[in-house]
Symmetry: C2
Subunit: 375 residues, 2 copies
């Protein structure tokens, strides 16, 4: 173990400035139920970008500091400052998940059992070299799994599994997924193929259709196609999908999905009803790729719901037993069903360089960054 423990922090100050910087913090001492993990790999997820940049206008970003320890500053538009008051003046540690080796363990048997093991970890600011975490936040990886393979064991795998478990718990039988060519979407595809669940993948580019088709996806509809509404309706009729997950939010896609579900449901109605079909139609919005207004053009009766969907709330609803089963499945299948692909590997310092920011802030489908804090 070295004497450095570099971590990346994001700070917004009263002067409407965002500062991203590295700092050398103390080496942590674990409590009884805690372990210290040498973080060897951590993914840059969309949710991490939200913490990192917050409401700053990154077109104003300036790089200063040194080559080994760059500092980024950017302006936060004044109108966003009131909503950020709980984080002003605080150096926020960034990084939702990662993986590495347990180098120190607390006195409890659960902590001791992890000593020397490769574990994945959730929470706490993983963009650092050594992280102290409760054993509950750790997932022991199978012998032979590398930190890179296990770095994304929580956010995407558990979200994809939570979608399938939510479908089951709420009595639906097939799923619609929007922005389906994402890393998460690819995982959901593999789960649904393995579990024999019909999944309708909504994409917006031909190459995304090809990607998913090559992975074995059966139902793929392209929202850029002129026949999108007809194609989606036909797929819903064939699969009986009445639940959808949409990371976009803004725009009319959620509305289109509900209307197509209703057209499919109304086909079987013998009697006209003012209130539409009895078939309950559910869309969960789990992201905000489009922050604009969500427009619902209501021709879908009264049996419907649109909900926000957040992983930790969803896990709470599913209950501990289901969640433990989900976690075990992730550990067992981390190199297959739940494998993540990274297009870029960067050090903590490289994350704070303008050319890296220009790359990862695009959130392009198919591009994914892995941070290696020990590099």
């Amino acid at each position: 173990m070295t004497n450095t423990n570099i971590q990346l922090t994001s700070t917004i100050n009263e002067d409407n400035k965002l500062t991203l910087a590295l700092e050398n913090i103390e080496m942590p001492q674990p409590g009884a139920d805690e372990v210290v993990i040498r973080i060897e790999a951590a993914p840059l997820n969309p949710s991490d970008l939200g913490v990192l940049f917050s409401a700053a206008d990154m077109t104003t970003a300036i790089q200063s500091g040194t080559e080994e320890s760059p500092v980024i500053t950017a302006d936060v538009p004044a109108q966003f400052m009131p909503s950020l008051k709980t984080r002003v003046g605080k150096a926020i540690a960034v990084g939702n998940e990662g993986a590495g080796t347990v180098v120190t363990a607390g006195s409890s048997p659960a902590a001791q059992a992890l000593m020397g093991k490769t574990v994945a970890v959730i929470g706490g600011g993983t963009y650092r070299q050594y992280l102290c975490a409760n054993v509950q936040s750790c997932l022991e990886l199978k012998e032979g799994t590398t930190a890179k393979e296990g770095a994304s064991s929580f956010v995407n795998p558990l979200t994809a599994l939570a979608m399938v478990e939510t479908m089951r718990a709420e009595g639906h039988k097939a799923i619609i997924h929007a922005a389906a060519a994402s890393n998460l979407g690819q995982m959901l595809n593999r789960i649904c193929i393995a579990d024999g669940i019909d999944l309708i993948n909504i994409v917006r580019k031909e190459e995304q259709e090809t990607l998913l088709r090559d992975m074995g996806a059966k139902y793929i509809v392209n929202s850029s196609s002129e026949s999108f509404i007809a194609d989606l309706t036909a797929a819903i009729i064939e699969t009986g999908a009445t639940i959808a997950f949409d990371p976009i939010g803004g725009g009319e896609l959620t509305s289109d999905i509900l209307n197509c579900m209703e057209v499919a449901a109304a086909r079987d109605m013998k009697e006209h009803s003012l209130y539409g079909s009895d078939t309950f139609k559910q869309v969960y919005i789990y992201g905000a790729l489009n922050r604009g207004p969500i427009t619902l053009n209501r021709n879908f009766g009264f049996a419907w719901a649109v909900n926000g969907f957040l992983l930790f709330n969803a896990l709470g609803k599913l209950g501990t037993k289901t969640v433990m089963t989900m976690r075990k499945r992730v550990a067992d299948e981390i190199t297959t069903t739940f494998a993540s692909k990274y297009t870029h590997e960067v050090s903590l310092a490289e994350i704070l360089k303008l050319e890296s920011i220009a790359g990862y802030s695009k959130q392009a489908t198919g591009e994914k960054y892995l941070i290696k804090p020990q590099a």
Copy 2:
């Protein structure tokens, strides 16, 4: 008992024409568990208008027939015909509820017990003189209750009670109600005052504020006021309301309600979260006074839901025991808590006159029509 049994029907034919007419049907014979009710009073609810006019353009309405038996015809715009195919060519009986005297009863003890009684009834086309109904669809009114007093025992009273019971079942502690000066809104006010529940009434006119204030309402906010958002937020902070019922749907009111709830919830947050507050915020849309798009301007985090709300689905979720208690309360308090006020009383023939249609089709707050099929 006379030999006539006049009923009002609404028919859409292949020629894109709506026809409203009276017809003399056979006097019904009750089965074992059924009773025949002489309908003496039936309200014209917004949902009845939907069945009556369907998608017809009532500005094209023409009156023909006789003074005693008028006939109304109107054009149905061609684009709506495909969605109406399950009702084309069928004479639909109109009228969701009503009240009257049981004049014939089936052989079962439950049916016999209602003989000669004044009952309220739900379903089956109450805009007629004699209706055969299952005893389950009947609510025996207390001795001395008139048919006029009991005519609106189901739709508004059970909807208002279902809102309160849904609030309780889903763990909320105060309610927001939009378009709150309606007959239903006034009932909800009386229930909430009686049960000690905080209710925030959203209205859009000063005279509606006055009306509700005079009824003892404590929280009234006017959506036409410049300080609406601030007023609503203040009322939410004071009451802790996290559930709302909105009969309007189209426009931005649902969104405004969610955003005000979130501002109220976020006040107490110690730490900044990208995902907004943990406070779950629920809006139920139970009508379609505005059929335009629902626009959600999402600054309310991820813990939220917007659902369609339909009385019969809501009763199903609440369960038989709760519903039986609700029905008993309606019968007990039909002249107080659940009293309806009618501004117009009309015969079946009068409903089919152009001057009446011009009046009741406006759905003006505070105006309500009562049909007297025996007049």
